[in-house]
Amino acid sequence: MIQKKTELPQIFESFGEARKNGFLAMKKMKDNGKGVVGQFCSYTPLEIFMAAGLVSVGLCSTSDETIPEAEKVLPANLCPLIKSSYGFAITDKCPYMYFSDLVVGETTCDGKVKMYELLAKKKNVHILELPRRQDTPEAKALWRAELVRLKERVEKDFGAAISDEHLRDAIHRRNIERRLLKELYELSTMAPPPITGLRQLQILFGSQFKFNWDEKVAEIQNAIDSIRAAYEAGERPVPADVPRILITGCPMGGVTEKVVKVIEEAGAVVVAFENCTGAKPMDRQCREEGDPLTNIADHYLQIGCAVMTPDNNRFELLGRLCEQFQVNGVVEMTLQACHAYAVEAHSVKAFLQEKGIPYLQLETDYGSADIGQLSTRAGAFVEML
């Protein structure tokens, strides 16, 4: 069994208020005996941690603050998400990374895989081998075996026993959460939408940092109810005639909010996110009858991401969302050096061209140097719709 970290980092006092609160909230949970698992990717099966009574938290760090530190080790022209994640790990500046007893990585891209090897020198790391096919029996078998291996690792590291009953209960609870988040973002199918895209993203992103499940679902339900009530009372935060945009591409949140901001400042509204913070992991429900581990494995493997080949599920979802949300244009955000998404952008463009939906690709990183150019591009795109 591993030794759980409960003391605060030495640089704690110099931290900003929000992060200080994050540290204190996390410390309280640790003091109450909770184990914490940090993860980076939507493919990570959270049900396994939930079934073990652990807290899980997304570590895909979304700020450029620690990138200079990371660049002492990692190449500068690497994806900012990888550099930021690693930087937060080695500087103890992220409460979630700092207090993670176990960090679960996955083989979604070469940069991440190699970064995890370096990270393993600092943290307790477990890597899931993710296949790149979603439809073959071999891929499905490999992925299920990987989840068995993860379950055994969690049981060993945290001294927990994970029964099928625990897993079934976790699937059920996660399904409730997925259904609620889907209900929330689907509010923006209304015309005009009841919330801006920035607000939607902030709620979706923020929900990842609520660690008490009961409180989390209550808060999401509350958000849905209050947004709906305000709308019914006649509140219209978005004018009826502005172009409706869907964002697709790399994971969003944190500083990448800048992309939503430039689009909405240009006079459009973002109604949907076909991203990992958004529809990608929330669109489908996990099967509840039958072997729970098989169900979890099947469920996660079907997420449509550019790391898959072929990536049919992404296009199916993208096409469906464009119709459901009645979008006037699609903006793809790719992070610098994210080859899988950057290359697939060509296919996304062709796919949308066939549907007659205007498309714009924006490449960016976690810095603010490109805001002027982003706003010119986004502005011109909105002007042409």
Binding site: A369, Q373, G379, A380, M384
Partner: protein
């Protein structure tokens, strides 16, 4: 009462202004942007008003270019991409592709009846921009006009570096190795053209093609572009004002729609 519209295209290198009455350009003016886009834009506006004798309250002002956000006296701001589309259609009615090589950006815009259909811009990098040419000319100890005069020779040499900083040291090496200024200038223009052609390929450009932006008057550049694209590339005396004309036109287009 509004009698005319003023378009101010405040770019990173120069600030262009035109005063437009319906379809007639009554005055134009260009000034180096300098350190204050707002003050330079104000000076450009004053000159346009002085040239036409119109009062401030008789004009509607539309700003574009990177400095558009700081022009607080404009009634509206529109991106330079939309403006170049509209301006190019004014200069060459029926234009389908606009190649704009500006101070810090180069763009290729596909248009139909002045409306932008799609566009491509260089990333945050000076390769292939006016700034790149200016730096290269400086390195050769000449100004842009002299640089342009070296091009009609049609001489060229191969430069491999797309990066403005690396190209700078490559230019030094080539000159040191005895290449003529004509050859080096030709090589530099080829880099700019290659970059523009790569952008054009991504917007599936079609003729007629118009070259706009501050470098549109550089005949050697236009000819090199034609050669590489295998299609005629037009330029107009007012090409550098395309963005400003487009900005001024947005007023009349909106008015016509109402």
């Amino acid at each position: 009462m509004i009698k005319a519209s003023v378009g101010i295209d405040c770019g990173s290198a120069s600030c262009k202004g035109v005063l437009l009455q319906e379809d007639a350009v009554l005055a134009s003016c260009v000034q180096s942007t300098g350190w204050s886009p707002r003050e330079t834009s104000r000076a450009v506006l004053e000159q346009l008003l002085a040239k036409t004798g119109l009062a401030r309250e008789n004009v509607h002002i539309v700003a574009t270019g990177y400095g558009r956000v700081s022009i607080d006296f404009a009634q509206r701001a529109v991106t330079e991409i939309t403006c170049h589309g509209l301006g190019a259609d004014y200069l060459l009615p029926g234009v389908r592709t606009v190649i704009d090589i500006g101070g810090q950006d180069s763009k290729v815009i596909a248009v139909e009846a002045g409306q932008v259909r799609s566009f491509q811009m260089n990333n945050k990098c000076a390769a292939g921009t006016g700034r790149f040419l200016e730096m290269s000319a400086n390195r050769m100890g000449i100004d842009l006009a002299e640089f342009a005069s070296l091009l009609p020779e049609g001489k060229s040499c191969s430069l491999s570096s797309m990066c403005a900083v690396f190209a700078d040291s490559e230019i030094i090496s080539l000159l040191a190795a005895g290449k003529s200024r004509e050859e080096v200038a030709g090589g530099i223009i080829q880099l700019v053209v290659d970059r523009a052609v790569a952008l054009a390929a991504r917007v599936e450009s079609s003729p007629p093609i118009l070259l706009t932006g501050g470098l549109a008057g550089m005949e050697g550049l236009r000819i090199a572009l034609e050669r590489q694209l295998g299609q005629p590339v037009a330029a107009s005396d007012l090409s550098r004002f395309a963005g400003a004309i487009g900005a001024a036109r947005t007023y009349w287009m909106r008015k016509a729609r109402k």
